[in-house]
Symmetry: C2
Subunit: 87 residues, 2 copies
């Protein structure tokens, strides 16, 4: 069964205070030259579906539950076992 | 300058209550057949560096500030403009 990674960020035109806070803190910690920091959610999950059915089901979950489509946008992809962020 | 996406999850052996809560809520919302849900952070940022310097700087930021390496693991990649989660 495919393993799905979903990335969620506030839409580009929405202020992201957490990203701003991270960006402002980095130089004081010795990390210069970093900008446009945005902070959001990352989800990984296994879905019992394939092909178009998989895409429809992941999009339904994302727009209906996992994100707030008014202020957030998302992107998802199928990942392999060795691409897991907790791997 | 390269745009970096960082995905952070609790390590696999650490209980993820948020992921568990999402997984438990999905069937009641009509989303059956989803398992192994893990919820973490997704960051996107632009770093003024390239090659090995870029890798060293992103890893230093991730281990020293953006994650808690005791309980979290991360994965990062260079993304194109059209791969932005807020795109």
């Amino acid at each position: 069964m495919p393993r799905i990674a979903v990335d969620v960020l506030l839409k580009r035109e929405i202020l992201d205070p957490q990203g701003r806070a991270v960006e402002d803190a980095l130089p004081g910690l010795g990390h210069e030259g970093v900008r446009e920091v945005r902070v959001g959610k990352h989800l990984e999950l296994v879905v019992d579906a394939e092909g178009e059915d998989l895409a429809a089901r992941v999009d339904a979950m994302c727009t209906g539950f996992l994100t707030n489509p008014v202020i957030e946008s998302y992107r998802w992809r199928v990942i392999e076992e060795d691409e897991r962020a907790d791997g």
